[in-house]
């Protein structure tokens, strides 16, 4: 049956026209075929602008990453760049002071923290910052963002070069030969070309040049070009100029994108309250827009105001009940506030939606264990181990399995699990700490001491190794080390009652004659 149909089509010579075919490929997001076909077309009678433009668009779409979610601060920008106006901002008005606004979230004794007081999030975005280093040295020594950190704008470069590799005959367009002024006269070509230059080649300077010429040609009446210029400025680090462009674009046309870009600028300038106001204005224009509500929630989360973040994430779910980020964040929030059963429901929702990865099964396993659903626990962890893509993920799963083993009371199994964590990820400070606790229970004080020292040097922001070391030293009688460790512990978690009691006790020892 099928073969006959094909036969007739071929027989009648209804071969679709190549340009139409390429266009159809493009619409079906088959960019590779589209680009190949366009290349053939371009080899023929040269100068066909349609094919040329189509090919630029196909190439761009292959590597396209939404600019809004691309927010990576590099070491240099974090440490050397001083864009914030207020150096010592009031608590609750800045992203740089973690843990200032205690919004009733769980304390570090319950919820683990990333860097000095920021609770770990339920969802890792490329722009997740979680604390910032204060010196260059510290920045080089510690991992901070969701991806391996680079010294300056490395990720953009990597994207650009990656796309170069896919073109064996060299770049499609030679930017230096292009007469940008000429292209700027033709808006239809110019837009595609700009996107190519910006997203594919990552040549911000030329892109800006083209955009400037084009917006002039459009007599500053096209909001799209303004937004693009703003994007270029933002990448170049000229935040105030970017802000101007975005604001002017917003005046012309209300767009969700523009609001998001402007909020990004404000966040980079460390003005979360302005960004929040902006989001709220945006919500007046676009009631119930998910990305805007989600943006508000993210800001609250960044400011460690977990409870109001959860409120906004709930609003997100009212609009879009399959929003992965909102579900994950609310789930982890419930888990750390003594409600593992509810967290389990949220994570199962994710599973029903078809998310299938190591982290989800890891979280499911933990929730099952703490919600006392013992039949699902170990199988979830097994699947997480099976799905783990790299050694860090394997290490995390083994670490959690160690916790399960402690909960069951099987300390030798727990010991093995923590050891395996370390085998997979040698820098896991939590595992070092927990191993030390197990050693301490066995009475091996020297091992425990060494492990705790490793843990506290790997993760100076965790209070547990410091505190455990202080207690251990106090027991042996070495009060000086105990005091220094206790001080570090207090720095990491100022509200810890046991640390305070220990310090008080040590100070009495020191003051006594």
């Amino acid at each position: 049956h099928q073969s006959r149909c094909g036969g007739t089509a071929g027989g009648m010579g209804l071969e679709p026209e190549p340009l139409f075919q390429a266009w159809s490929y493009f619409r079906r997001r088959k960019f590779r075929q589209c680009s190949d076909l366009c290349s053939q077309l371009l080899e023929g009678p040269s100068g066909e602008q349609a094919a040329w433009s189509l090919k630029t668009r196909a190439l761009t779409e292959m590597v396209y990453v939404d600019e809004i979610d691309m927010d990576q601060e590099e070491i240099a920008e974090m440490v050397l760049d001083e864009n914030a106006i207020a150096q010592v901002a009031r608590p609750g008005t800045s992203l740089k002071l973690p843990g200032t606004s205690q919004g009733g979230g769980p304390s570090p004794a319950v919820r683990p923290v990333t860097q000095s007081g920021r609770p770990i999030t339920g969802f890792v975005r490329p722009s997740t910052q979680s604390g910032r280093p204060s010196t260059m040295e510290q920045a080089i020594n510690t991992p901070l963002t969701a991806r391996p950190i680079t010294s300056a704008s490395g990720r953009y470069i990597r994207l650009g070069t990656a796309s170069m590799i896919t073109n064996p005959d060299g770049p499609f367009i030679n930017l230096s030969r292009l007469n940008l002024a000429k292209y700027a006269q033709k808006p239809k070509l110019a837009k595609a070309l700009f996107e190519y230059i910006f997203h594919h080649e990552n040549d911000v300077k030329n892109a800006l040049h083209l955009a400037a010429l084009a917006t002039e040609h459009a007599q500053f009446k096209d909001w799209w070009w303004k937004v693009q210029i703003g994007k270029c400025y933002y990448r170049l680090g000229l935040y105030r100029e970017a802000e101007k462009q975005f604001k002017s674009a917003l005046k012309q046309q209300d767009m969700v994108d523009t609001v998001l870009y402007l909020a990004k600028v404000y966040l980079r300038l460390d003005q979360p309250v302005t960004a929040l106001n902006l989001f709220k204005q945006g919500l007046d224009r676009f009631p119930g827009e998910v990305t805007l509500i989600c943006g508000i929630a993210r800001i609250h989360e960044e400011m460690s105001n977990i409870s109001s973040a959860a409120e906004y994430y709930k609003d997100v779910l009212k609009q879009d009940n399959t929003h992965v980020e909102a579900i994950a964040c609310i789930g982890s929030n419930h888990f750390y506030s003594d409600q593992p059963e509810i967290a389990l429901r949220f994570y199962r929702r994710l599973l029903q939606m078809g998310v299938y990865n190591c982290q989800l099964f890891n979280n499911l396993g933990l929730c099952c264990f703490y919600a006392q659903q013992y039949d699902m626990t170990l199988s979830s962890f097994e699947r997480a181990l099976f799905l783990a893509e790299n050694e860090e993920e394997t290490a995390d799963v083994w670490y959690n399995l160690g916790h399960v083993a402690v909960g069951v009371g099987d300390l030798s199994l727990a010991y093995q699990c923590f050891k395996l964590t370390l085998v997979n990820n040698n820098d896991c400070a939590e595992a070092y700490n927990n191993l030390a606790v197990l050693e301490m229970r066995k009475g091996h004080i020297e091992q425990a001491r060494a492990l705790l020292q490793t843990a506290s040097s790997l993760a100076p922001h965790m209070y547990e190794p410091h505190f455990n070391f202080a207690v251990l030293s106090e027991k042996v009688g070495d009060l000086q080390r105990s005091y220094t460790a206790a001080q570090k512990s207090e720095e990491a978690f100022p509200g810890h009652v046991d640390t305070q009691q220990l310090i008080k006790q040590l100070k009495q020892h020191f003051a006594m004659l």
Binding site: F123, S332, F510
Partner: protein, 496 residues
């Protein structure tokens, strides 16, 4: 030109130091030392004291050594050197220096006291005791009493420790720490009246005292005043929000008020904060048995057994859970273990007897029943414990079923027992063997176990074979591993 007087500004240094104006004091000391080319003994001395207050013991040790070189005849300098050594954990060296200081001055209580403490760290308890008694003879101090009491406790002599603390309280009746410790010791001995008195005194002097509040609350719990205990706990819950013993006690308060779900959530929070604490696990197991969630109960109880293998009641509860999970063989093994470990709790034997009876093993049941009778009689002679009425009832039913019930004389309910027995008998005749086997009967046995648990207080010392649950407030010193890291790196659920 007059020669510079070395000690010219000592009064000012002293004044600044006493006013805690350390910055200015340091500046003045620097000036003095420059002027006197480092020979001003007092300036060095105060500098060392400031270093010590800042926690820099090593530096202070060096400076005190300089002092004792400048003035080798001074006891003070030697004492300070020894003190710094002690703070660094070098106890043997400290003892040597203290001995030298003692040669210079024999009538100094501090030297004796510190020697005692050093010996205590080195575990030479006899010498330590002698030195501390010596210190007390020279001059009495609260701290010396504390240390002496601690040594007695370390050696396991509770009575002597109480004597020491009694004297200490007589000497300084307003020291809340001493009062609390004495109260806790009485609590461990089961002398509730005195314990309450002392803890109450401690709370009048220091209303926010965490330990005393916890202990007082647990005593109220023991007598069933759950609401009062809860209000006590509420006072300290805001200051100590992450204390496992506190949450454990709150959970058991709710358990007593039959608010089981609240109890479980409190206990689980406690367990999250202290995963190694067997008391919390025990209580969780107990609550889950009461809720008839046997799988969870088994889980928590077996975890508790892993942390505390030498306790009969744990095995008994585990066996009850196993019986309900239809694993009779293991339940029997567990009962065997419980009977072997337990010496004074009749419930173990009663529950075992019920199981055996339900399995049709009347002979074994009779044997266990007799064991239980022995224990009951022994308990009746030794103390005035009230038996839980539910336990009595089940025992009588069983006794009737086994036709041996008459011989047992219970403390209180002996008068009613006959009528009840009749009822039990009639019930039995109508439906053979059923009444005991049902979940109901076992549930009763369990809840009586809970009631039994409520009436007992636990001693702090590890390994003491005595009873149950709740109120682990007592530890006189924090357990070594009590503060474990509670963090779960639940790896962030990244998007796809």
């Amino acid at each position: 030109p007059e020669l510079p007087v070395l000690e010219r500004k000592n009064w000012l240094i002293y004044l600044l130091y006493v006013r805690r104006d350390y910055d200015e004091c340091k500046a003045l000391i620097k000036e003095q030392l420059q002027e006197s080319h480092g020979l001003c003994e007092y300036a060095v001395y105060v500098q060392a004291l400031i270093f010590r207050l800042e926690g820099k013991i090593q530096e202070s040790l060096e400076l005190f050594q300089t002092c004792s070189i400048l003035n080798p005849r001074s006891t003070d300098n030697l004492k300070q050197v020894a003190r710094s050594l002690f703070l660094l954990g070098k106890h043997k060296a400290a003892i040597e220096v203290y001995n030298e200081a003692a040669k210079l001055d024999e009538k100094d209580w501090e030297i004796s006291h510190n020697l005692g403490v050093c010996y205590m760290y080195l575990k030479h308890f006899n010498k330590a005791r002698d030195q501390l008694n010596n210190a007390l003879e020279l001059s009495r101090h609260d701290l010396t009493y504390m240390m002496l009491g601690k040594i007695h406790l370390l050696e396991g002599e509770m009575e002597k420790a109480i004597e020491v603390y009694k004297k200490a309280v007589e000497f300084s009746p307003e020291n809340a720490d001493l009062l609390t410790t004495l109260g806790l010791l009485y609590l461990q001995l089961g002398d509730y009246q005195k314990a309450f008195e002392h803890l109450g005194n401690a709370l009048t002097y220091d209303p926010g005292n965490y330990k005393a509040t916890l202990a007082a609350g647990s005593m109220m719990q023991a007598h069933g005043d759950f609401d009062v205990a809860l209000s006590k706990y509420r006072v300290i819950a805001s200051t100590v929000p992450e204390s496992p013993p506190l949450w454990n006690n709150i959970g058991m308060c709710f358990f007593g008020k039959k608010k089981y779900v609240a109890a479980i959530s409190c206990l689980k929070r406690a367990n999250y904060l202290a995963p190694f604490d067997w008391k919390i696990l025990y209580n969780l197991g107990l609550v889950h048995l009461t809720m008839q969630q046997y799988a969870s109960a088994f889980h928590f109880l077996s975890a508790a057994i892993n942390f505390q293998p030498k306790m009969g009641e744990l095995y008994m509860l585990l066996a009850v859970a196993l019986t309900n999970l239809e694993d009779i063989e293991n339940a029997k093994l567990s009962y065997e273990q419980a009977v072997a470990l337990d010496k004074c709790n009749p419930l173990v034997n009663l529950n075992y007897a019920v199981l055996l009876y339900n399995q049709g093993d009347k002979k074994g049941a009779l044997c266990q029943y007799q064991e239980m009778e022995k224990k009951v009689n022994a308990l009746k002679e030794s103390s005035t414990l009230d038996f839980d009425p539910e336990m009595v009832e089940v025992a009588q039913k069983l006794g009737a079923a086994l036709q041996v019930g008459e011989s047992l004389v219970w403390t209180k309910s002996s008068k009613e027992s006959k009528s009840k027995q009749k009822a039990a008998l009639s019930g039995k005749s109508s439906s053979t063997q059923q009444p005991l086997g049902s979940n109901q009967a076992l549930g009763q046995a369990m809840s009586s176990a809970a009631g039994y648990g409520k009436t007992m207080q636990l001693p702090s010392g590890a390994g003491a074979p005595a009873p149950l649950a709740k109120s682990p407030s007592l530890p006189l010193e924090p357990e070594p591993g009590s503060e474990m890291s509670p963090e779960e790196t639940s790896a962030p659920a990244a998007a796809e």
